[in-house]
Point group: C2
Amino acid sequence: MEANMILLHFTDGLIPVVVQDAKTREVLMVAYANDEAVQLTHQTGFAHFYSRSRKKLWKKGEESGHVQKVREILVDCDEDCLLYLVDQKGAACHTGYRTCFYRTIDGIIVSEQVFDPSKVYANKGQ
Amino acid sequence: MEANMILLHFTDGLIPVVVQDAKTREVLMVAYANDEAVQLTHQTGFAHFYSRSRKKLWKKGEESGHVQKVREILVDCDEDCLLYLVDQKGAACHTGYRTCFYRTIDGIIVSEQVFDPSKVYANKGQ
C-alpha cells in the first residue's frame, strides 16, 4: 500500500474495475483486480487485472499488444470499485471489437470490429 | 425473459451494472442487478438494481428523486456485465457528488458536489 492511497474494500480478494477510454469516454470493459494488480497499475501506469478463470495476474495486452496506458485511477464512494481512465492501443475486446459492450441487450451490434482475433491471439485470451 | 434478449450470466443471482451518462459520457456508478431488476429496467425505462446490503430490489432515485432514465442497455462479450446509458436527474451519488467516482485513488477530489445529502435523504440510502 502506498502512502496516500485510499483503503480499498476487496471481496474475496478482488475489486471490480471499469475501464473507460480517456479521450472518447467510451466504456471499454469491466474486469477484476486483486491488490497486487492495483499496485502494479498504479506503479507502472499500465492496466493490470486478475483473471478469475485463469487464476492469475495479467497485464492487459500482454499477448495481443493492446495495452492500456492508465491516465487516472478513480475510486467510488464505497471504495469497492475502481475506474481506470486509459489510452487504449488497438481494441479492448478479445472478440476484435473496440469495446466489450458492442451489443444491446436485444442483441443488436452497435460497435465496430477493428481487428480479426484469429490473427492476434495464438490462444484464446486477453 | 423477453423474446430477443441476450441470455445473461448471473453470479449468485446478480450481475454488475455500470451506469454512464448518455450525454456527458461520465461513468456515474456501479451497482448490481438481479434478473427482476434487469427486466424492470428494460420494461419501464428507469434504472433498477438489487441492493446487496438491504437485500431488496430498488429503483434508483426512489427516495431522492434522482432517477435514471435509461436510453440503452448494453451487454459485454461474456454476457456477465451490463452498461446502462442514462439521463441522470440530479446526481448519481448519495454523497451529493454527480458521480460516485469523485476521487482519485490518492484521495484527490476531482468532481463537484451538486446537492447536500442531509437535505435529500431522510435515511441513508440511494
